[in-house]
């Protein structure tokens, strides 16, 4: 039997257990080209992803850009305490969590429903057409999407106001983007509009893996289509749903920076400002590096903790998990 682990280095024909340290080095010597093809990129990733972590020191300093690292004054957790005593940050935190939860929940429900509907469509042509159209917005930038949304919601000629006026539901056009109570809805439904088609792909994939015999058996037992969906399709995609939930747990504090940033305006800042926008404002416009970095650290640490927590919960309940 050929040993798969070192099938390339034909000279090494010892049993795996006998390969010594020295031997490892000589194998590595023969794999120079592989090293050349991979190591530079790993170093590149270390530079661009891990090295910036050193910048977290700014959150514990009274950082002044003109001073060298050793000359900075250390201030401990001052910026973190300040963050949580500041109303603006707490409001940003609330907005971030609210928008995330609304978008995620709406995104899940709509994607699963549309996937189930698509799965029930028997004409392949219609199914393909709906899929092609609904995937498309996923590839547009948020700049374009928010531009289109602003047109749809426009006071002057927006289709939404026109329809509601024609139906007599409202007396005069509403400035949708200027009223605080509508903003989270707009964020949630814009997310759905852009991503619902794309998000169905993964569920449709899971549905093709369901054994057709189950449907046939249910048919013989006299199940209608709704009961087949409830008892076969939904349980069949449950592991996928749970994996997707774990993955989104790690993004609760991300709240999609671009959409609220592009749709916000002065009138609705109180409900539109997220942690990311807060970091941008304090870090770049006001040059308060320590405070902004502290907010960034808080966000990323919470995200990682939530991801691990969700993963553990899924593990404990015996469900599919990510890591």
């Amino acid at each position: 039997m050929k040993n798969k682990n070192d099938s390339s280095s034909a000279t090494v024909s010892v049993a795996p257990g006998l390969i010594s340290k020295k031997n490892n080095w000589s194998i590595l010597g023969k794999q120079k080209l592989l090293i050349l093809m991979s190591l530079p990129f790993v170093l590149y990733i270390i530079l661009f992803r891990y090295v910036p972590l050193l910048g977290w020191s700014m959150a514990f300093q009274d950082y002044k850009p003109y001073k060298s690292f050793t000359d900075q004054t250390w201030v401990g957790f001052k910026w973190f305490f300040q963050l949580f005593s500041e109303k603006e940050f707490l409001i940003s935190l609330r907005n971030t969590v609210a928008m995330s939860l609304i978008s995620t929940a709406l995104g899940y429900i709509t994607a699963i429903l549309v996937a189930i509907f698509l799965n029930e469509v028997r004409q392949v042509g219609i199914k393909r057409f709906v899929q092609t159209v609904s995937y498309l917005p996923h590839f547009l930038s948020w700049v374009i999407v928010t531009g289109l949304v602003a047109n749809v919601l426009s006071v002057e000629d927006g289709i939404l106001n026109s329809i509601l006026l024609a139906l007599g539901a409202i007396k005069e056009p509403i400035q949708w983007l200027a009223v605080q109570k509508y903003f989270w809805h707009i964020i949630g439904w814009t997310y759905v509009w852009k991503e619902v088609g794309w998000n169905t792909i993964i569920y449709l994939g899971a549905m093709t893996a369901i054994d057709p015999c189950l449907y046939e058996a249910a048919q013989i037992d006299g199940c209608g289509r709704l009961r087949k969906i409830w008892h076969i399709t939904l349980p069949g995609i449950k592991p996928t749903i749970i994996i997707m939930m774990i993955m989104s747990a790690g993004h609760i504090l991300d709240a999609n920076f671009e959409m609220p940033y592009l749709l916000q305006n002065g009138l609705i800042q109180d409900v539109a400002q997220t942690i990311d926008i807060y970091v941008l404002k304090y870090g770049f416009k006001l040059s308060r590096y320590g405070l902004a970095t502290a907010a960034g650290i808080f966000k990323n640490v919470v995200n990682i903790l939530l991801l691990i927590l969700a993963n553990q919960l899924a593990k404990r309940s015996g469900e599919e998990r990510l890591i």
Binding site: Q31, D157, R225, D276, A292
Partner: protein
């Protein structure tokens, strides 16, 4: 006899009921999916109609599906503006460069780390995968780019995006699914690792390359935030999306009325002949120009989506 007949009748009735139930069910599904399709297409359709309509006429409102006074004028004005042309060149060139380089680097890395005999494969892969979950944040990231001297340079669009870990995992999973015999027979023929990668593996992984090329190109074409962070004071480096973003923001901040933002943006470009160009017309025309490349490429790569998504979903 009667009993049997009754049974048959009730069976037939039940069957008829389910058939009616079925068609009602189908009807509901088609209505919902039809609404989804209309809601997805209408905003584009409307924007195209406005972009092909006479600018002054559009101000009166009421354009829905077809232009009232058809004209190419808005697009002509757009392409005569230096600012838009420059932005177009930046967007196109950075998209092509970034896609080619990123596909090359990512697939090469994926090939090297898919070789089971490569003895430092595991630690290197771990470093890469963990980096997906590590996020230093906006300010430290900016400081790094600044210390590397990339702020305000064209290379800031290319260098930070050479390797994408999600794409790396996608390609590596694809390569792992290929039979080992391809690589082994090439090795017996005396090919070195790079030749195997370039001549044997590359042609075999075209579907996954199409996938990551699409992801990278769309990302590059759509990005505006890097311009905003690193090159907003360098008009020569502004991308199309950034220009569109600033025009939309201006008009939104003026209380969402169709303000002079569009013509202001155009007037900023030297030698523009702004006659009938109105903001709403210009906004629509830029939106369509920024969308068009995606609409053109999209059908070509669509057949690879499902392959890519299911591979990407495979657990590590």
């Amino acid at each position: 006899m009667i009993e049997v007949e009754n049974k048959y009748q009730s069976y037939a009735a039940a069957k008829r009921r389910t058939r009616i139930g079925n068609s009602i069910f189908d009807l509901i599904i088609y209505i919902i999916l039809g609404f989804l399709v209309v809601a997805t297409i209408y905003p584009f359709w409307n924007t195209i109609a406005i972009s092909l309509n006479d600018g002054l006429d559009s101000l009166k409102g009421g354009i829905t599906l077809w232009p009232r006074k058809f004209t190419w004028r808005n697009y002509q004005d757009l392409f005569q503006t230096t600012r838009i042309r420059d932005a177009g060149v930046i967007s196109v060139s950075r998209t092509i460069l970034q896609t080619v380089l990123s596909v090359f680097c990512t697939t090469m890395l994926a090939y090297a780390l898919s070789r089971k005999e490569f003895i430092i494969r595991k630690p290197l892969t771990t470093i890469l995968v963990i980096s997906m979950y590590v996020n230093a944040g906006l300010i430290p990231g900016y400081m790094l780019i600044k210390n590397l001297g990339l702020v305000g340079k064209y290379s800031v669009y290319i260098i930070p995006a050479l390797v994408d870990i999600f794409n790396f995992i996608l390609v590596r999973t694809y390569i792992k699914g290929l039979p080992d015999s391809f690589v082994e027979s090439a090795r017996i023929d005396g090919a070195n690792e790079f030749t195997i990668y370039a001549n044997i593996i590359m042609p075999l992984i075209i579907p996954s390359i199409a996938m990551i090329a699409l992801f990278t190109a769309v990302g590059a074409w759509n990005s505006w935030f890097d311009t905003y962070l690193y090159a907003s004071d360098k008009p020569k480096l502004h991308s199309l999306q950034y220009v569109l973003m600033s025009i939309l923001q201006q008009s939104q901040n003026q209380n969402m009325s169709a303000a002079d933002a569009g013509s202001m943006a155009l007037a900023a470009g030297a030698g523009s002949t702004v006659g009938k160009a109105t903001p709403i017309a210009i906004r629509s025309a830029i939106t369509i120009v920024a969308t068009l490349p995606i609409l053109v490429v999209y059908p070509l790569v669509q057949k690879y989506f499902v392959v890519g998504m299911t591979i990407g979903g495979v657990k590590e």
